[in-house]
Amino acid sequence: MNRIVDAFNKAKSNNRICFIPFCEFGYPSLEGFSKVINIICKYGDIVEVGIPFSDPIADGPIIQRASDIAIKNGANISKAFEWLYNFRKDNKSTPIVFMLYYNLIHYIGVKEFFKIARDMGLDGVIIPDLPIEESDNVYPYRDGVSVIWLASVTTSDKRLKKIVEKSDSFIYCVSVKGVTGPRDEISKDGLDLIRRIKKISPIPTALGFGLKSKEQIKSLTSLADGVIVGSEIVRIIEDSNDDELERYLEELKSATSML
């Protein structure tokens, strides 16, 4: 959790907003993932790792497909923890956040899950099917691991207040009505959502769902504290080679500069 808070502070002191790239564990293959994540860690201030699940209802076609392939590759939450354990031997600095559906936590048992997460060096979890109304299921057991709540363009101010109260690292702002996947424009409602949070709390905000271009990111530097890019990265991993991935990440990263 502290690594996440530090990442936001560090980016800020470098006149940047936080860059949070996403990749899917076990995709394009178990070995391929280890390679991809090392490239991503060079650029990401925080790195979000999706854990494959059979029924990813919040995800669009690109991440759905990556998740299916990862499952066929034998990826699961247990192997993801194993990977993280080995990863932490060499990398103690990059904050790693797992994006995973609640059933994967429930399967292990919430208490047990967070204990393992802490021991393996996980910094946070994003649970896309757990709204704040269900926070009692996880909040008391988080054990130093940050639970990153999502706020959406449809979230009322009343509920936003509850989300802010339970947030300890940053708030994941969902910029669109819909599932994950690249879009051409950032909605006005998405920008308003960040403003609405800023009005009630100093907690950092990161905007996600739909971002893909450096122009979009550039336009957010005066408003948000971070940006999350997922589907487009997964698409590039599928279609292109490592050099192109690296070029893309570099381009996005440089767009996070506030100067």
Binding site: I57, A58, L104, Y107, T154, V174, G178, V179
Partner: protein, 392 residues
């Protein structure tokens, strides 16, 4: 006194609202709209009028004489197969569509497995002038061509779902993704007592007309309550519909799950008998899973029972011991299918045939009075049964 779910949408430790944040506001809106109509007589008058004049309610409670003779106890069939569109599904569709109109929605979407709920939804959309999109697994579309055509004829758009097992579970995933994208004008008309709160409660309330009628009818015919009420359980809407009005009575309730090729083969959909608990499609419930929490691809000869979970209220009723959950294998269901056709001249849906078949393997004592919910008719299943019977 039984009064569930609680205000957080829980039946004991089951239920809840495990959905993407964007769906919370429409769920709260739905909850509010429903609590408003709950005491609004004009809403229920309209609901009851359509059930009576359009669906054909009340459906008969029929004493199955020859079946009873063969079994040694008295069997009454609650004839939901005589509802317009051929199954109980339409009761809930009418209620939710009226609710959608009150919420100002102009479009409804739904998932369907075999097509019964899809056809019922498309029918009601046509009746009430709503736009309609139905999500259906590619596999199911190939197996149920007639129902696909029916839905299209009724004016619905049918969207094939090609991910995962290409069946009901994925159809629900796709419907949820549509809903999260189109919440402004769209109501998601869930067809079973599953999903996030308030769906399991709303669907139960609309379906409990089945049990209320059956309770009244049996008192008229027998001047006493039945000893048993038996119904098949997939997600669990027809069974909760008939059980609910009997919950506070001294009546034994038996839910029959899809036993497929037998529990030991893992090719079945008997979620409760399988004893695992998990979270899918918005609620915590008995749920069949693989190692590390992925959802299992289930199997049943009947598409309507082929679902890895079971409604949260059923999960709770199982734990408190109020309802007994058993299962019938494909073979037992096929026996029920044949026996009912030959003894009573009624061809049941394969789902309902599980409840009928169960009677032949049950320990129900002689001279009992039993009500079986005959939730749907079997026309849609003739292709499948023809294959199973090797009919050329």
């Amino acid at each position: 006194m039984y009064n569930l779910p609680d205000e957080r949408g829980y039946f004991g430790e089951y239920g809840g609202r495990f959905v993407p944040e964007t769906l919370m506001e429409p769920l709260l809106q739905l909850e509010e709209a429903y609590s408003k109509v709950k005491n609004d007589e004009t809403f229920w008058q309209e609901f009851n009028r359509l059930l009576q004049e359009y669906v054909g309610r009340p459906t008969p409670l029929y004493y199955a004489v020859r079946l009873s003779e063969k079994l040694g106890f008295k069997v009454y069939l609650k004839r939901e197969d005589l509802c317009h569109t051929g199954a109980h599904k339409i009761n809930n569709c009418i209620g939710q569509a009226l609710l959608a109109i009150r919420m100002g929605k102009s479009r409804i979407i739904a998932e369907t497995g075999a097509g019964q709920h899809g056809v019922a939804t498309a029918t009601v959309a046509s009746l009430l002038g709503l736009r309609c999109t139905i999500y259906m697994g590619e596999e199911d579309m190939a197996r149920q061509k007639m129902n696909v055509f029916r839905m299209k004829l009724l004016g619905a758009e049918v969207v094939p779902v090609s991910s995962g097992s290409k069946t009901l579970k994925e159809a629900i995933n796709s419907a949820l993704r549509d809903w999260v994208t189109n919440i402004d004008d769209t109501h998601y008309l869930i067809g079973s007592v599953i999903g996030p709160h308030p769906y399991p409660m709303i669907v139960r309330d609309f379906q409990s007309v089945i049990g209320r009628e059956a309770r009244k009818q049996i008192l008229e015919k027998e001047e006493r309550l039945p000893d048993y009420v038996v119904a098949c359980v997939g997600g669990g809407s027809n069974s909760i519909g008939i059980f609910y009005p009997f919950l506070n009575d001294d009546v034994r309730l038996i839910g029959v799950e899809g036993g497929g090729l037998g529990l030991e083969t893992k090719k079945h959909s008997a979620s409760i008998s399988n004893s695992q608990i998990g979270v899918l499609h918005g609620c915590r419930m008995y749920l069949m899973q693989e190692e590390w929490g992925n959802i299992m691809n289930t199997y049943s000869i009947s598409a309507g029972l082929d679902y890895p979970g079971v409604g949260p209220e059923h999960s709770y009723l199982k734990d408190i011991g109020r309802v007994r959950y058993e299962y019938a294998t494909d073979d037992v269901a096929l026996k029920g299918f044949r026996e009912l056709s030959q003894l009573e001249g009624i061809i049941p849906a394969l789902e309902s045939a599980h409840a009928v078949g169960y009677l032949f393997v049950s320990d129900i004592p002689k001279d009992s009075i039993v009500i079986v919910n005959l939730s749907g008719r079997g026309d849609k299943d003739l292709d499948i049964v023809m294959r199973e019977m090797n009919y050329e």
